[in-house]
Every structure is written in structure tokens, then in C-alpha cells.
Amino acid sequence: MTTQDTTYLDQLEAEAIHILREVAGQFEKPALLFSGGKDSITLVRLAEKAFRPGKFPFPLVHIDTGHNFPETISYRDKMIERLGEKLIVGYVQDSIDQGKVIEQTGKNASRNALQTVTLLDTIAANKFDACIGGARRDEEKARAKERIFSVRDEFGQWDPKRQRPELWNVYNGKIHKGENVRVFPISNWTELDVWNYIRREKIELPTIYFAHQRDVITRNGQLMAAADFLNIDEHDRIEHKNVRFRTVGDMTCTAAVESDAFLIDDIIEEIRSSKISERGARMDDKVSEAAMEDRKKGGYF
């Protein structure tokens, strides 16, 4: 039962498992941030590979904007039941009710930016010293420069000029009280790598990743799911289309693509031939050339 021939997927998997075990070994109270997206679902599988038959040495944490796709929430709950691991949910609604953030108004209102506050509060309340996330360097230019162990100060801020050098496979997780480390085990994976891995491992995904019929409206040239909290008015035209989502964020900021990719093989083929990058379907990145860098400095994942 040996596999002599190691492919790049095996190499990426081995690296990610190594990073997850370093988190377990170096931190007192780590957590795995679970968004319901394919990248964090991949992280969960990697955590199973790193720690089974033992338990995960960390809980899963979900920041719930209240504007999630219902498919994501039902997937999350089923997955937690299967895993038998602990889930902690931080609600953006709580941050709004406590007056810590003010809900945006207007047509393009989104809770996407508000979740940073809820995330930082959840980290502080649970005293997490390391948060594992599914960000990848190929997603965006600022992320291309982020370390695998990325230290945040007590305000949750990322300082790109004060990053620690990361040599060989040695990760320095030493921090001062109040600081925490964001850890990105799949930093070196591309979107296509994640999909190939999901296919190889036969990992189940939320249904919205696959083509389905849905009511959509067009906003700023992008197809958005016609959900109540999109502030739909008489100028919006609701259409019924075959769509799927390439990333799963908040419903207010995640655009769909028209697609007939019903199966994972179709999706992989679609990405191979696609001419738009994955974050091209994220309205939040389009604000300015440095949009992601600025949000990351503020504590966004």
C-alpha cells in the first residue's frame, strides 16, 4: 500500500498538515476559523489528517454575519455533527445590538466590513492566541506577501513591514500577551489545487458551489443572489438563471457566475478555462488597488 510517486498535491497536503501540527504544538488556545467556504472545508479535512484518531486540539469558530447563504449554515451544522468537534459562533448581530458597529445603509449595504469587529471580539472573549484560516497567497497581491504565521498586534492589525522572516519549515509562534497569530496552512495552494484536492478526497461541499437555478439581480455588472437584505427596489430586475458561486462569503458581497457546472469535473474544467480570477467576483476587493491590504491591516482575515 505504498505510494512512491508523490504528486504536488501530496506535497501541499504534507506541508499543510505540518503547519497545523505546529499550531497544536506551539499555542495554548488555537482556533480554526470556519467560513463554510471550500478553503476552510479543506482545512477541516487537513485537520482530520493531522490529528485523527485524536480530537482536534482546537474548536471551530464561525463568524455569522446573519446574511449567510442558508445552504452554508445547514452544511456547517451537519459537518460539526459528523466530526464531533466543538463549534463557537460569533454573531455580527450581537456586535450591532451592542452598538459596537453601525449597520450600513443604502443599496449596497453589506455586513462584510462589520465582521472584523465581531471576529476580534470573539478572539478576545475566548483568549485565542492563534487563528487558523484558509487564505491563500494566490488570491490577491497583498496576501502574496503574507507569512504562514502572521502576527497581529493587540488591535488585530497586520503590519506588512514588521513581518518575521520565515526560514525553511521553521515557524516562530512566540507572541506577547494580547497578540495573536493568524496561521495559513494552505498559503501555497491555488484555487485549482483546492478543487483538485476536493475531488481527490471526495469532500462534500455546500450545494451553492455547483450550478443551480436561482433568482438573481445585476449590481455593478455582477450577478447577486436576490436575498431580502440586498435592499431590492423597483429598479432591480430579478432574473432566473443557472448560476454557481466561486467563493462563499456574505450574500451581500459574493457574486455568482452563470454556469452549467453541475459536477466537480465541470467546475475544474470551468476554472481551467476561466479568464476571471476568483476574487474578481468579490465586490469588496474592487474598491481600490490596495483594498485588501488596507482591510488586512485593520484585522480582516
Binding site: Q11, R137, A144, L167, N172, I276, S277, A290
Partner: protein, 416 residues
């Protein structure tokens, strides 16, 4: 399909980011929306074409100053291979970033400006490549378009660099004349230099053999985590989780646990519920031993036939990476694989002038200084010489006041 990690060394004006941009652009690895952002950017070349360097300069400050500050990672793939590029800055004040990029790469690309030939910084970049023991070097002689694609210029630089390579023991060097700006010999073989009969850069990167650690006779697995479910049905389960850093392990292999020196045999090799007969370098795994012994994170499992050095006094090359200078009266932390222990600086042997390669006496190290020291560790380390085994021969120094990574160590000898 396998993976090749390489890094690029060259100064601001050598066109390093342009070369990477060209590799991505000509291999059709840039997507439409990225291209759109590129075209809308204000930075253009003098002739109005897109400035491909923008593809890798990710931070605001870098775009403003038109230079690369930090290591940027880029990913692309062809039909033959997947590539990870570490784009590192070339200025002397960013030597630490270059060391970082080099530590994670199998191959180095060194850029030389055809107009200037081998200069001081070429020597510095090559020294770092030799210090980090990268086996494969490609010298890209760039801006050939600005010297009329002259064969004589190429030959002169080839000859000058060969002397440096010999001095630094760089044995496998390939020379390619390119123009990153115009695209000559980057992805496509150029018609402008019929005298050059070698491969294009991409063709070379796609076909070069790189596979060092697996053949090593030194089987090593630092223990990261011990899996003990302690449930009723798995009461006696005890698995040592880690990543094989070199060589291979087989079931029934005799192994030694270090630094304790206790010996046992491998009873089972497990990867996520699957049993394996053997496991190779690079793979993450859970090992089981025949005897019940006390093993914890920081220990290392090795094959008993090729045990590493165990010592507390170690001679090492040091690259200093912090703005605070090295203080030899201070206690530092050393992190070697999964092991952390305290250490002191026993002696500073010398520093190297990295532009001339002269050894000079020193009593401290400033940011970006490189030289040789002797350290004494609180607990013994089980290590190999960096020359023979990079993963088990390198370590980092941490300043316990700031928690910053302040030094990279390459182990050269045991002093005891």
C-alpha cells in the same frame, strides 16, 4: 506532476520583477481581471507597453517607490510542472529577505544586467546562494536588447561569473541571455540571438532534475505532536506525528529517539487511517514504535544506522536579521525543527564582507551581517551539518524580549 520552488535575485534595476511578470504573462498565467487592473494602472514603460513588474509588487509602499520590499510569492503552472516563485528584493538592506527566499527554494535565478556585467551585488547574491547551499543556479544575463544582442558581451559575462562560481563552489550553473522587457528567451526562444543554442528559461525550469532530500541515507522525523486519544477502544494508541524531513522510514526499521538515545523499532506507519510500508522525505505521517517510551514534541526520530550529531556546542554561519544588533551577553532562544531551547553566543569567529567575500574580525552583528559564530545550547541538539541536510542543519534565533526571529543559523560543525 511535481513542484519546483525557485527564487530570483537581482537588484532594483536588473528587471527582476519584469522577468517574473514576463514568465507569467507569456505562459498565459495572468487572468483577465488581473490584466485589466494592470492596464488601468498608471505605471507604463517608456514605449507605452504594460509594466509587468506591477504583477509582483503587492504592497502600497512598493508601488509608490517602484521597488520590491518583501518576499512575494507567485504561483504558476505549465503542462510539465508547478512553480512557486519567491520574488525577493536585491538591495543590500534586504539581504535577510533574500536569505528567507533562498531557504525555501530548490533553484536560484541570478540576474545580471548585460550593460554592467558582474558587479558587487552579483557577488553578494551568489554568496547567499552558496551559503544556503542551493544546488542549481541560473544566471540570466538580462537586457540583451540594450547591447544589440551581442554574443561577445554574453561570453565576457559568462567568463567573469565562472570565476565567482568556482570560488563559491557553485557547481551547477546555467547561463541564459534574455530580455525580460522584450521577452527574448524567457518563455519563447528568441530569434534575435541565433548564436545561443540553449533552452529558454522556462524550458530549463520545466526540465531540470531537482530531488535531493529523498535519496539521503539520513532518515529524520522531528516529533511535532503525540496523538493519544485515550478513549476506551483506543486506550493504548500512541502515535508520533511529524513530517519526514529527509530520507525514508520502513516498518521494522531500527530507530533512535534523540536526544535521549533510546532505541526501538517502527511497528506501524500511518497516514490518516491508512497503513504504509514505507514513507519518504516531505510526507506528514504518524509513526508507532514497538516499545512504550517517553517521547514528546521536540524529540527527533532517526534511523539508527545513520544517527546525527548530538551536541551543545555548535559552530554555525549566522545571518543577522534584526535591527537591534547581536548582543553576545544575551541569552537567545534557538528553534531547531520542533525543538526550542535557550542558547548563548560562545564566540564570534568572523564576519564576511559580502561584497568582497573577505573575512573580517567582529564583535557584533548588525542587520544583514553574515558570519560565523559558536553557540552553546541549554539542551543538546540532534542535528546534521547543513551541507549534508538542510532541514536538520538549519535553525532560527529568537530574541525573547521581542519574540522576533533575529537570526538564521546554518550548522557547520560540532565543537565538542
Amino acid at each position: 506532476m511535481d513542484l519546483l520552488k525557485f527564487f530570483t535575485a537581482g537588484s532594483v534595476d536588473d528587471g527582476k520583477s519584469t522577468l517574473i511578470g514576463r514568465l507569467l504573462y507569456d505562459s498565459e498565467s495572468i487572468l483577465a481581471d488581473q490584466l485589466e487592473a494592470l492596464q488601468q494602472s498608471n505605471r507604463k514603460n517608456d514605449d507605452g507597453t504594460i509594466d509587468l513588474a506591477i504583477l509582483t509588487d503587492g504592497l502600497k509602499a512598493e508601488r509608490e517607490q517602484g521597488i520590491t520590499i518583501d518576499v512575494a510569492y507567485k504561483y504558476f503552472q505549465t503542462d510539465k510542472r508547478k512553480f512557486i516563485i519567491a520574488d525577493t528584493p536585491g538591495h543590500i538592506q534586504y539581504t535577510r529577505n533574500m536569505v528567507t527566499g533562498a531557504s525555501n527554494s530548490n533553484l536560484a535565478i541570478i540576474l545580471v544586467d548585460a550593460r554592467n556585467g558582474v558587479v558587487e551585488q552579483t557577488i553578494r547574491h551568489s554568496f547567499i546562494v552558496s551559503l544556503l547551499e542551493l544546488k542549481h543556479v541560473v544566471v540570466c544575463i538580462n537586457k540583451m536588447d540594450m547591447v544589440d544582442y551581442s554574443e561577445q558581451t554574453f561570453n565576457d559575462i559568462h567568463k567573469a561569473y565562472s570565476e565567482i562560481a568556482t570560488k563559491l563552489h557553485l557547481n551547477e550553473v546555467t547561463y541564459i541571455p534574455v530580455s525580460a522587457l522584450k521577452g527574448d528567451n524567457v518563455v519563447n526562444v528568441s530569434g534575435n540571438m541565433p548564436w545561443y543554442t540553449g533552452k529558454s528559461l522556462l524550458d530549463h525550469l520545466e526540465t531540470i532534475e531537482v530531488n535531493e532530500d529523498e535519496k539521503s541515507p539520513q532518515a529524520r522525523m522531528p516529533v511535532q505532536w503525540v496523538i493519544r486519544p485515550q478513549t476506551d477502544e483506543l486506550h493504548d494508541y500512541r502515535g508520533y506525528a511529524g513530517r519526514v524531513s529527509s530520507g525514508s522510514f520502513h516498518v521494522n526499521d531500527k530507530v533512535t529517539v534523540l536526544p535521549s538515545g533510546v532505541r526501538s523499532e517502527i511497528s506501524r506507519i500511518e497516514t490518516f487511517g491508512q497503513d504504509q510500508a514505507e514513507i519518504h522525505s516531505g510526507m506528514s505521517v504518524t509513526l508507532h514504535l514497538k516499545d512504550n517510551i517517553d517521547i514528546s514534541r521536540g524529540d527527533i526520530l532517526v534511523n539508527s544506522s545513520h544517527e546525527p550529531i548530538v551536541s551543545q556546542l555548535i559552530e554555525a554561519d549566522l545571518c543577522w536579521m534584526d535591527t537591534r544588533p547581536l548582543d553576545d551577553s544575551m541569552m537567545y532562544l534557538i528553534q531547531h525543527n520542533s525543538k526550542q531551547t535557550k542558547c548563548k553566543i560562545r564566540e564570534i569567529l568572523h564576519k564576511v564582507n559580502i561584497n568582497t567575500l573577505d573575512k573580517i574580525p567582529a564583535d557584533s552583528f548588525q542587520l544583514n551581517d553574515i558570519g560565523r559564530i559558536v553557540i552553546k545550547t541549554a539542551d543538546p541538539l540532534a542535528f546534521d551539518l547543513y551541507h549534508e541536510n538542510k532541514q536538520n542543519g538549519g535553525a532560527i534565533l529568537i530574541d525573547s524580549r521581542t519574540n522576533l526571529t533575529v537570526g538564521a543559523l546554518m550548522f557547520r560543525a560540532s565543537v565538542e
